[in-house]
């Protein structure tokens, strides 16, 4: 059993086989095979209990459907079902996605990392710079000259669509 502890001191007990989907945790388990149970506590600091909860839900769903099966010989129907489930799982606000990305990166869970990054890219797509700034709280920090002249002229080729 692996214990994850979040910043608000909540404990999450997970089966080793399930937590193995994190390559970081898998390495820790490998390194400490045969040691005391207390050794297998992982503190996930600076992050509230919402994220470990989500990560574990993700793990459980994927544990029931191992990667190899998911790629090679999984039936079309099952693949569709998993896709629908993932779409729903990642349908959340940008702050949660942000935290999921950080957690997936630290815990080294490639499929969760990719899924959350792809969702963020979907959110940013087809929006104006102002909208993106609003959603993601990016401040542009450009000087007046940069905003008015430098950037538009430097990148004019991206917006050019008319060709004689």
């Amino acid at each position: 059993m692996i214990t994850l502890i979040s910043s608000d001191k909540r404990k999450f007990h997970v089966l080793e086989e399930v937590a193995n989907q994190s390559l970081t945790i898998r390495d820790v388990i490998e390194d400490r095979r045969g040691r005391r149970r207390a050794d297998r506590i992982i503190l996930v600091t600076n992050i509230n209990s919402k994220i470990p909860e989500k990560v574990i839900v993700y793990w459980l769903r994927h544990f029931l459907m191992p990667e190899e099966i998911a790629h090679a010989s999984m039936s079309h129907k099952k693949a569709e079902k998993l896709k629908k489930w993932e779409a729903k799982f990642f349908d959340t606000d940008i702050d949660t996605l942000n935290d999921l990305i950080l957690a997936a990166d630290s815990l080294d869970i490639p499929s969760l990392f990719d899924g959350a990054c792809e969702k963020v890219s979907d959110i940013l797509k087809n929006r104006s710079a102002e909208e993106v700034g609003e959603i993601s709280k990016i401040e542009n920090e450009f000087t007046h000259e940069e905003e008015e002249e430098e950037i538009p002229s430097e990148n004019a080729w991206v917006w050019r669509n008319e060709f004689a």
Partner: protein, 284 residues
């Protein structure tokens, strides 16, 4: 992914510290933002340069480029202008994957439709500049260009591990390599190729590490295929003129699929490792 910021305490606990002060995208490290950009369509990714100082040049580091004319809003000339500029401005940044999917318009002379044949020379220039960045994967799907010339360097690129080629044109011979030396290639997918004995021989001897080979809609004009390392072979909708013999001692997986009945006879010799065969033939 970058290295996780983990610390192991003396009492054996592992602490994962997720640095996070403000709930926004700015806290994500550059490599994460670049990963997010790589899921976007190239044009949208470049347009993020107006977001902030930090984002201004992030797009130049995207390691995976996927240019697809069918998903590009604009004419062939606009597509050429965009791809050329993007490759020029990103320079020699790390590039793992380069994909180009570009189909020529069908009716060249029809009034109102542009002649895209005049742009074809750009494709070889793009491939050439991609090759300079030592990519691992190149995937080309070019349809209907009469005078396509592939750069010679495509078949001698030492970094390549996966190559996917799909062409269909009236002068197919132009796309055939004259020399192959891909020392690290592990996976090769060919579509709409004519493979004679000399060509097959050249490919197999030029790709000494080849493990996976997929032939799709090819003409199998060769009589023999010999490889000691090949593990996976897939043959889909290929036509041939006669008997083809395979000497593949390390073949593990063979997949055959043919929707049209043909006269080709395939003969497997000495395959002790073969464990998986999937076959779907109209007539074997």
């Amino acid at each position: 992914m970058g290295p996780p910021n983990k610390q192991t305490r003396s009492n054996g606990e592992l602490t994962l510290s997720l640095s996070r002060n403000l709930p926004d995208l700015s806290t994500l490290p550059d490599y994460v933002l670049i990963h997010i950009l790589s899921f976007m369509d190239p044009k949208e990714a470049v347009q993020t340069c107006v977001l902030s100082k930090r984002w201004r040049n992030l797009w130049t580091c995207i390691p995976s480029l996927n240019f697809d004319k069918s998903g590009f809003e604009g004419s062939h000339a606009a597509f050429v202008h965009f791809v050329t500029n993007m490759l020029l401005f990103r320079g020699a940044s790390k590039l793992d994957t380069f994909r180009l999917r570009w189909h020529a318009c069908q009716k060249v002379s029809t009034h109102g439709q542009e002649n895209c044949q005049i742009h074809v020379s750009n494709a070889s220039a793009w491939i050439f500049s991609a090759l300079r960045c030592k990519p691992l994967t190149i995937s080309l799907d070019l349809y209907g260009f009469a005078n396509l010339q592939l750069p010679h360097a495509l078949f001698t690129c030492s970094s390549l591990e996966h190559l996917e080629l799909q062409f269909f044109d009236s002068r197919r011979a132009a796309t055939e390599p004259s020399y192959v030396n891909l020392p690290n290639l592990k996976k090769l997918n060919l579509r709409c190729f004519t493979l004679s004995d000399p060509v097959m021989q050249m490919i197999l001897s030029g790709c000494p590490l080849l493990e996976e080979f997929c032939l799709d809609s090819c003409s199998l004009n060769f009589s023999c295929m010999k490889s000691d390392l090949l593990r996976c072979l897939t043959i889909i909708n290929c036509r041939g003129s006669g008997l083809v013999e395979f000497f593949l001692p390390n073949l593990v997986s063979l997949s055959l699929k043919n929707e049209y009945p043909g006269k080709t006879k395939l003969s497997l010799k000495n395959t002790p490792s073969l464990v998986k065969i999937s076959s779907c033939m109209a007539q074997v």
